[in-house]
């Protein structure tokens, strides 16, 4: 096993919230170890003054001093994890500024998180895995061309996708709603192989991602089992032809949303959220169902409506549905309601998540929801930019997996 990735922790509150052990456990699960950058009392006094952000909490001052020690190279680390209490305004300001400061002033991958006492290691795992992958597998993530015959499987919370690629081209696809995790995976793998005209034994390498990645990965003997943050980043810039330079990847998923600030295809900062379903693809599914249209028809329907005509901006799926029902009862058109639902989801993601990453153009939307053009349109309006939706965007995780899996063909990376 390789040496553990050393993750510097900058935090206020996890010990007293009972979540420090959860952080330790999440790190241990991905062969990482947390540590607290060593500074002196004088460093704290000096760093606090020179950083210029007035925080009254001493633990936040300590976090600032530790961040400076990392950026100035006085303490070495592979990655940085910033964690503060949810609902603390002072800590939120410090957390965001430190994340930005480290991202801009160093090459260290950084993720920030606001926890409650209910935060578990499971919640932190994907973030920690992404953080360590970026630190540990830079060579793997540098891959820009797919080689050989590979397959990627994305076992998502709503849908399961498979992609077969040969010599940098997509030759087979499979898509199915996730019911039984293994069963759905088998179904899409069979479809993708059939379309590609190959048998599974012909494959040179396989990658898995998504919620079911471990289970499916073990079952089908995957060479690469990787969380969706790094995989989707790679897939997005690959499909959009934006592998070099800056980009922002937005993936509004069935259960949680990802917003990733990417540099040369490698995530720099990212957020992953999904406390409430009103800001997820699930709400759009509900809307389509209530309007009596297929989810594929919701986007075009929304493009014909005006979102401003219907008040709807709840991050809670129950309240959101209530607005929807009220609007329809008051005589609003299906088009306006569809547009309002798209606007509502886009606005929640914008307000709750995009504030935590620095939006850098181009903005690339991926995942199944990126096919709902009404949603893409509303997001573009909010961000004041033209949002790119690359071809095969709904297969993003599977494409990223197939691309990265080709790094395992010669068995020289791991």
């Amino acid at each position: 096993m390789s040496a553990p990735v050393r993750v510097a922790q900058l935090s206020c509150g996890p010990e007293h919230s009972g979540v420090q052990k959860e952080i330790y456990d999440a790190a241990a699960a991905v062969n990482a170890e947390m540590f607290f950058p060593d500074v002196t009392l004088n460093d704290i006094r000096e760093a606090y003054g020179s950083f210029g952000l007035e925080a009254r909490s001493a633990d936040l001052q300590l976090a600032i001093a530790r961040a400076k020690a990392l950026v100035e190279g006085r303490v070495e680390a592979d990655a940085v994890f910033i964690a503060t209490c949810f609902r603390c305004a002072e800590a939120a300001i410090v957390r965001n500024e430190l994340r930005r400061y480290i991202h801009e002033q160093s090459d260290l991958p950084v993720v920030s998180y606001s926890f409650t006492e209910r935060t578990t290691s499971g919640t932190l795992l994907t973030r920690m895995e992404a953080l360590t992958t970026i630190a540990r597998r830079r060579a793997l993530l540098a891959r820009e061309v797919q080689e050989g015959l590979t397959m990627g499987v994305d076992s998502g919370s709503s849908t399961t996708k498979a992609i077969v690629m040969r010599d940098n081209a997509i030759i087979g696809t499979g898509w199915a709603p996730t019911t039984n995790v293994i069963g759905s995976a088998e179904e899409v793998i069979a479809a993708a192989c059939s379309e590609a005209g190959i048998s599974r034994d012909d494959l040179d390498a396989i990658g898995t991602t998504g919620y079911g990645r471990f289970l499916v990965g073990e079952k089908i003997g995957a060479d690469l089992v990787q969380e969706e943050l790094t995989v989707n980043s790679k897939g997005a810039v690959y499909l959009a032809g934006r592998q070099r330079g800056e980009a922002t990847v937005i993936d509004i998923g069935g259960m949680d949303n990802k917003a990733i600030s990417v540099q040369d295809g490698i995530p720099g900062t990212f957020t992953m959220g999904g406390i409430c379903a009103g800001a997820s693809g699930r709400f759009l599914e509900m809307t389509a169902k209530r309007l009596g249209v297929d989810i594929t028809e919701l986007g075009p329907l929304a493009m014909k409506g005006f979102s401003k005509e219907v008040p709807m901006n709840s991050y809670c799926i129950v309240f959101g549905t209530q607005s929807l029902v009220n609007a329809l009862a008051a005589g609003s058109s299906a088009e306006d309601v569809a547009a309002a639902a798209c606007h509502s989801v886009a606005e929640q993601v914008f307000e709750q998540q995009l504030q935590e990453v620095d939006i850098k153009e181009p903005v690339i939307m991926v995942g199944g929801t990126s096919l709902i053009e009404g949603l893409v349109h509303e997001m573009g309006e909010l961000l004041q930019t033209k949002v790119i939706v690359p071809p095969h965007s709904q297969y993003i995780g599977a494409v990223g997996s197939a691309l990265l899996a080709s790094g395992f063909i010669r068995g020289d990376l791991g």
Binding site: C12, H16, G18, Q20, I44, S57, A58, R87, C88
Partner: protein, 149 residues
């Protein structure tokens, strides 16, 4: 012997002064020791679990951050049982249990609202301050029942 809550609760100086003159200092170490010495679920480093922020609901509402409520689970019961308190008001460089400014504001308020005798001080910055600081604490502690005469 009076129970004297010290602020900052991690203070070496206050803990020493209170004990030196025959009273019992109530500080962070006592609350941490209680957790470190109680069997239960493993939750390093402080053996504080999600139950602590829940216990803290007695002192702060659910919309208050978990770190504040967790810290209040340490300090709240001690403030409730204290006979007196000594507060150093410029304790800006106290970390860990005292590292959250919002908690500290609430801790001070809870002390003051109890109506127990409170001695307010600032840290000494010179020898003469030191004399005044020590003398004030000694006089305060001597005035509490059960102390050294």
């Amino acid at each position: 012997m009076a129970k004297v809550f010290i602020y900052p609760a991690t203070s070496l100086i206050l803990s020493d002064m209170v004990e030196r003159w025959g009273h019992s200092p109530l500080g962070a170490a006592l609350a941490i020791r209680e957790r470190i010495q109680t069997p239960g679920l493993d939750s390093p480093p402080l053996q504080m679990t999600a139950d602590d922020p829940k216990k803290g609901l007695k002192y702060a509402a659910v919309e208050v951050p978990s770190g504040v409520r967790g810290r209040m689970a340490l300090f709240g019961p001690m403030i409730d049982e204290a006979d007196a308190a000594i507060i150093v008001n410029d304790a800006d460089l106290a970390f860990g249990c005292m590292g959250c400014a919002r908690t500290n504001e609430l801790v001070k308020y809870r002390i003051r609202s109890r109506g127990i005798p409170v001695l307010d001080l600032l840290y000494p910055r010179c020898d003469e301050d030191g004399v005044a600081f020590v003398a004030a604490i000694k006089a305060f502690l001597d005035g509490l029942s059960g102390g050294e005469a």
